[in-house]
Symmetry: C2
Subunit: 345 residues, 2 copies
């Protein structure tokens, strides 16, 4: 990558580099209009494109915002990414994207890379976990983040704080009320359903999953119901599918009147697909509810009952907080009951 430099533009316009800089980039001092035009024309004719790296070096700030997600192809993260993107554009910044598949070590690498690029802020999306085998990687991540913050970086985490991060300056959390919302979902479902509940959840120690389980159980308890059985599987569509196959067997074997709460929509769809693949029907043979309200899944039939989360807003808020916009509003969601949890007449 080579290109014409500010010096070349200045020479062609017959002015000093300093003046050219003042004209072409936002500066407090406004050079004379006559000279300004000469510079602009010179720049235009040379196809001058300011070197953001050099600008960043000189100003020690990059105009970059780093985003770490598990998987950008997952609609949950894609929506958040859109929000971050929109906010970034409004702030005149660009988004650096990294995917980490939920592995703390990969997240640490991403954070380090962002730090190297001198990103002004970093948004960490995707649920944290406290799994025993991740302890070391988690603390390495925390160390990396702490160092980044210590150097003046701003980080926003969606959902839960990073395990072990000393919440110093520059550290923000966009809290998602998973527990409370799961509790309302349970409350609403107990009105519709008098039978048993089963929760299809992610692996233990995954905060988001655990919060939603806890909230759901609390909601059931508040309604005087037995705690739901918890079925552990992967936090993905295929995890849901596996759970669904297993549950379908039980239903086929005579288990009736089940309401299944999958802790996210993608898992719920997996459960539903598996159950329907066994000649069973929803909601006739089992009710299903999810969580997240993924847009792409809204045309699914029967329409999936779920908890709506303003994902794009969440991403935007994360970017704004990390960007220094302090007037933020908390994240709220709401239960959306649809046909997948309505017993047929």
């Amino acid at each position: 990558m080579v290109a014409s430099t500010l010096a070349e533009v200045a020479r062609l316009a017959g002015v000093s580099p300093a003046t050219a800089s003042r004209v072409l980039n936002g500066s407090a001092r406004k050079p004379g209009p006559d000279i300004a035009n000469r510079v602009r024309q010179a720049a235009e004719s040379l196809g001058y494109v300011a070197n953001a790296q050099a600008q960043g070096l000189a100003k020690s700030s990059s105009g970059l915002i780093g985003l770490v997600v598990h998987d950008i192809a997952d609609p949950y993260f894609a929506s958040i990414a859109r929000g971050v993107q929109v906010a970034a554009r409004n702030q005149g910044r660009m988004v650096l994207l990294a995917t980490a598949a939920g592995a703390p070590e990969a997240e640490r690498e991403a954070v380090a890379a962002f730090a190297a690029r001198r990103a002004d802020s970093i948004v960490l999306a995707g649920s944290r976990s406290a799994r025993k085998e991740d302890t070391d990687a988690n603390s390495a991540l925390a160390t990396e983040l702490d160092r980044y913050c210590a150097n003046g970086g701003q980080v926003a985490v969606v959902g839960h704080p990073v395990v072990g991060a000393t919440s110093g300056t520059g550290y923000h959390v966009v809290a998602v009320p998973n527990e409370a919302l799961a509790a309302s979902l349970a409350a609403d479902l107990t009105v519709l359903h008098t039978g048993r509940f089963i929760v299809v959840a992610g692996p233990e120690s995954l905060f988001t999953s655990d919060d939603r389980i806890r909230g759901f159980q609390a909601g059931l308890a508040a309604a005087g119901r037995e705690p739901a059985e918890v079925f552990r599987t992967q936090f993905t569509r295929s995890g849901g599918h596996a759970a669904g196959l297993s549950l379908a067997r039980r239903i086929a074997a005579g288990e009736k009147d089940l309401c299944i709460f999958a802790v996210n929509d993608v898992m719920a769809i997996g459960v539903a697909a598996a159950i329907r693949g066994q000649d069973l029907r929803i909601p006739r043979d089992a009710l299903i509810a999810g969580f997240d309200d993924i847009e792409t899944l809204r045309d699914f039939q029967p329409e999936l009952s779920t908890v709506h989360l303003p994902l794009e807003d969440i991403g935007a808020q994360a970017a704004r907080r990390a960007g220094g916009d302090m007037d933020f509003i908390p994240i709220t969601g709401h239960v959306a009951l649809r046909r997948s949890t309505h017993h047929e007449e």
Copy 2:
């Protein structure tokens, strides 16, 4: 953003900056192991993080790859983005993300921003259009790209070349065989369906949409069928939905034996949702096929017949070509007939 510098590390280790650089970053010359350790320890204890901006300035190359999509929350683009991301990681580079909503002017801005950041290469995803009102913006985009290439940048475009770009060096196209695949789809559908065909398409002059229409019509013609009626709408889910409402009315009014080809899956889902909302059923009252084979939509019922496109591969190939990996294989897809186009017994 401040951080300790290479000079500080060097001083603490009691060596020169050059030596420190040689140790901490990949250099041909390998300093003595004793000194190397001293440097590494100094770096570690200072929490040194190399400044990629400065490195980029010195080496005039940034390790950045720019990606422009219409909308990162659209599963089509999200899949491509994942591919780009994976390829970028394999090349040890990072992805800069921009969304442009398909507007050539926004795309031009993104390209300019990437150029300013001295991205090594740029991937442009999302269908081009030749709409009359976009002529100016398209040529501005072409100019920007030409300049970028002239300065040594590499650009890969998914689908169609940019209108007016002089295909100089550094300009690559990842061709998607839309026309041929649409023709095979038509051929296969004529075996299953003896009635009429309708194409639900995007606005005129949108290359991807137009190619798929043309291929489909050619496939019909080859099978001795009448050309399909073409229904123009938005290239989105809601465009499909609108078309679906209109078609549902016609079906309700007695029109029978229709096979609807929506030029992408998201539109197809919109069509299906609209039709089902009118108490009609698929495939009983109308067959529907889409294009793209979006992963998130695979659990839709009835399973959507479509044309499979290796979206992630497409993204990865684009990144690889732009990255200089020249041993590439062409993109291929295949028809995937599923239940949405099988007449019920």
